[in-house]
């Protein structure tokens, strides 16, 4: 009975995952139509809620960082941070959005440039300006604000209040002991569900990108077999990394990643149109901050409605559905930092690096598009994954750059899968910070196996859409988490045990 209770989340989550994967294998079309319907309906009806929630999360983070709560440690008083700033930022970046940036660094600005909302002329200067501004917006402060809310709540309740590092722990001030019952199990199982589906689709789609990247360098066809081989290699590597523990594996890989990414960024900045890129960087930062409030709450009901649905709201749903995984991981590496340090560090540094990345790669792509008539935008519109490799064709050492990018993608994948395995095992082991190796292997194999099967049968994108549907309950849960964290922090600053009336009568007696 105790064994069952200890593994109840594991069993529930495994059942849900296998159920949907089963549908994905047996009837991918049915899963796809169901997932598309659900996702479209949710975004249509609650998209405004995603925008509002993401904006509220920014305000909440700033409020915590700037208020008296900013000095509260995400750990016991006097505890020091476990990782150096460099190690922490590297892991933050790797888990948060490293891989997505490589994928979308060129592709997103090009896509918006070619297909802006209907009120902007396609392929115009205005479209380019809009493309850069919205690329910044989609990868800027909001995603990090979402991640910060989740991770700060988990870190506070786990490391400061001594509860297991689970999402359900964050609800103790609101529902008390019921976190150890059905409501708690459902919250954690939902988190596992969103994480597994998100990682499975990322692994599948990412493996396809690595295959197409390698095929531009080496003479082979990007077939299904090649993708399977890549998934197998990645699986073996991330399992080795995962079994070696958080301190060694993920930290080392993340540091390697960030070094490679910075090297690539530096090369592109120097070898590319440096002044043009820096102009774009500054100009877009100005555009971004001057219209941040407007973009944050614009559901655009009068014009650009469809575009906002398919991009901004989709992104917000995606970030929210990813937040349990990233949140748990970021929480586990942020022990010992103060709330102010955590919010400012996680909000400013990764955002600035992201802006620089988009300016360098997006700016270089626009330069090539405008000066060499490269038609990069149309290439991207046909296959998003090849955008970056196509750009390299216009740069010196293009083969080396492609190989470096593939290596970066590979390492980012290993890091993501590694941290996902760690987080899934932790969530399904009642929040043990050193989850059993058997569970890590089980989740690792489930993720990889499911990716391969769904790549073969189809239904990978349907599964991704299913993962995004989890954003709706998580948005609500995260708003309650803010309330819960605020209550928890307020408790620390309130002297519950003291009664001014009784204290004064005691003093009088003395």
């Amino acid at each position: 009975m105790q064994l069952l209770k200890n593994n109840i989340v594991f069993i529930i989550a495994l059942f849900i995952v296998l159920f949907f994967v089963g549908i994905g294998i047996l009837s991918p079309d049915r899963l796809s139509s169901l997932a598309t319907y659900l996702q479209e309906r949710i975004i249509e009806m609650f998209g405004w809620g995603y925008l509002l929630a993401a904006f509220l999360f920014i305000i909440f983070n700033l409020y915590l960082a700037l208020s008296k709560y900013g000095n509260v440690k995400l750990g016991k008083d006097g505890e020091k941070p476990q990782y150096s700033y460099f190690g922490w930022f590297s892991m933050l970046f790797a888990a948060g959005m490293g891989i997505g940036m490589i994928f979308w660094g060129v592709a997103e600005p090009m896509s918006h440039y070619l297909n802006p909302p209907e009120y902007i002329t396609k392929e115009s200067g205005m479209a380019a300006k809009f493309a850069m501004k919205y690329s910044f917006f989609h990868w800027g402060i909001q995603p990090w604000a979402i991640y910060i809310v989740m991770s700060m709540c988990i870190a506070y309740f786990s490391f400061r209040r001594g509860m297991p590092p689970l999402i359900s722990s964050c609800f103790y001030p609101l529902i008390g002991e019921r976190i150890y019952g059905i409501p708690g199990y459902l919250i954690d199982a939902l988190a596992v569900f969103a994480t597994v589906f998100g990682v499975v689709t990322s692994l599948g789609l990412g493996a396809m990108q690595i295959t197409s990247g390698l095929s531009t360098v080496f003479p082979f066809e990007p077939t299904f077999t090649a993708t399977v081989i890549i998934i197998c290699v990645v699986t073996v590597l991330f399992l080795i990394s995962s079994l070696s523990g958080l301190d060694k594996g993920i930290q080392m890989l993340s540091k390697t990643n960030i070094m490679l990414a910075l090297a690539l960024l530096g090369f592109m900045l120097i070898a590319g149109p440096t002044t043009y890129i820096l102009d774009i960087f500054l100009n877009t930062i100005a555009d971004y901050f001057s219209s941040l409030f407007n973009m944050s709450l614009s559901t655009n009901p009068f014009r650009g409605y469809e575009w906002t649905h398919s991009w901004t709201m989709f992104y917000w749903a995606w970030w929210i559905s990813w937040s349990p995984f990233v949140g748990l991981f970021v929480a586990s590496i942020s022990r010992g930092r103060t709330i102010r340090e955590f919010v400012s560090g996680a909000l400013i540094v990764p955002t600035l690096l992201t802006f620089l990345w988009f300016s360098v790669f997006g700016g270089a792509a626009f330069h090539v598009e405008f000066t060499r008539q490269a038609d990069l935008a149309r290439t991207v519109s046909q296959d998003v994954s090849v955008g970056l490799f196509e750009l390299y064709e216009f740069f010196p050492l293009s083969i080396g750059l492609s190989l470096l990018t593939v290596a970066l993608l590979g390492v980012f994948f290993i890091t993501s899968a590694d941290s996902a395995t760690f987080v899934l095992s932790m969530m399904t082991s009642r929040g043990r910070l050193s989850p059993p190796a058997a569970k890590k292997i089980t989740w690792g194999l489930i993720i990889s196996g499911t990716s391969v099967i769904l790549l073969y049968a189809g239904g990978l994108e349907a599964l991704q859409k299913m993962a995004i549907t989890a954003a709706l309950p998580f948005t609500v849960l995260m708003l309650f988490m803010c309330r819960s964290l605020n209550k928890g922090l307020a408790y620390e600053f309130r002297q519950h045990s003291r009664n001014p009336y009784l204290d004064s009568s005691e003093e009088k007696q003395e």
């Binding site: 309740f157 008390g176 009664n499 009336y501």
Partner: protein, 274 residues
């Protein structure tokens, strides 16, 4: 401590209910009642004015029959301000309101003089609710004091220690906010119980039984729930002048309770502003 009461009259009250309320006041040990009627403007010696004065005289006579000393005051001005000011001038011990519930729309559009008095008055306010348990009996049996362990305790405790309410059972209720983790919650609960126990000891001589209760949740909701559960006759709450911004906008617990419960209330204001 509850010798003199100011009783504002709108003349919409039924005589029977006023009589029932006066019996309660007598039960508290009240000897003097000041009947205050506030008019928007002075209408001189008009027939309407004479009518009003006659009605109030009749009410005063019926209250005198109960053995109360009654004085009448006819004032002009804004009801809430004038009532509070009169209570101050007469150095009354408390105010007694015959509360009439108004629905949200009515209250929003027309306002409520009773609610304004409760909000503005620094004197203790007894809110008599018709239809509550009190109506059916002459004696108070169960009294509940909802404490927040703050300065309001020092304003309320003297009334409980002086046995002004002459009740059998006193329930001391604390509605706390749940701590952020189970260990801290256990500590908080233990500390709250200890505080309640100490309060109970201080007023144990004035009641046959003093029971303590500690719960978590919404303060308003829990007071209403426990009142119903324990079949309480009178709820005593403290009201702080140092309200939080949200309370200032939506009304404090003490200000919103009369519309949410059928029970009579005694609201004591802690006038220190911190």
């Amino acid at each position: 401590m509850l010798k003199t009461a100011v009783l504002p009259l709108s003349l919409k009250e039924s005589k029977q209910r006023l009589y029932d309320m006066a019996r309660c006041l007598k039960h508290f040990g009240t000897e003097t009642v000041y009947l205050v009627h506030v008019m928007a403007r002075d209408e001189g010696d008009s027939p309407k004015q004479r009518n009003i004065q006659q009605t109030i005289r009749d009410i005063a006579d019926s209250l005198r029959d109960l053995g109360l000393y009654v004085e009448m005051y006819f004032k002009t001005g804004r009801i809430a301000d004038t009532v509070c000011q009169t209570a101050q001038e007469l150095e009354a011990d408390y105010l007694s309101l015959h509360w009439r519930k108004k629905n949200v729309i009515k209250q929003t559009l027309l306002g409520s003089a009773d609610a304004d008095i409760l909000r503005m008055c620094t004197h203790p306010v007894f809110i008599y609710q018709s239809g509550g348990h009190l109506e059916r009996k002459t004696n108070l049996n169960r009294v509940l004091y909802a404490t927040d362990f703050q300065h309001t305790d020092s304003a309320v405790m003297p009334y409980l220690q002086n046995s002004d309410f002459c009740a059998e059972i006193l329930y001391l209720l604390h509605v706390g906010e749940r701590a952020p983790d189970p260990y801290a919650e256990e500590e908080r609960h233990r500390e709250s119980m200890r505080n309640l126990q100490r309060l109970a000891e201080e007023c144990s001589h004035a009641f046959t039984t003093v029971e303590t209760m500690e719960v978590t949740g919404s303060v308003k909701g829990q007071i209403i729930r426990q009142t119903r559960k324990k079949k309480v006759d009178l709820v005593i709450v403290g009201k702080s002048e140092k309200a939080r911004p949200l309370e200032q906008m939506l009304g404090s617990v003490a200000e919103t309770l009369p519309d949410r419960t059928r029970c009579s209330l005694f609201v004591v204001t802690d006038i220190r502003k911190g």
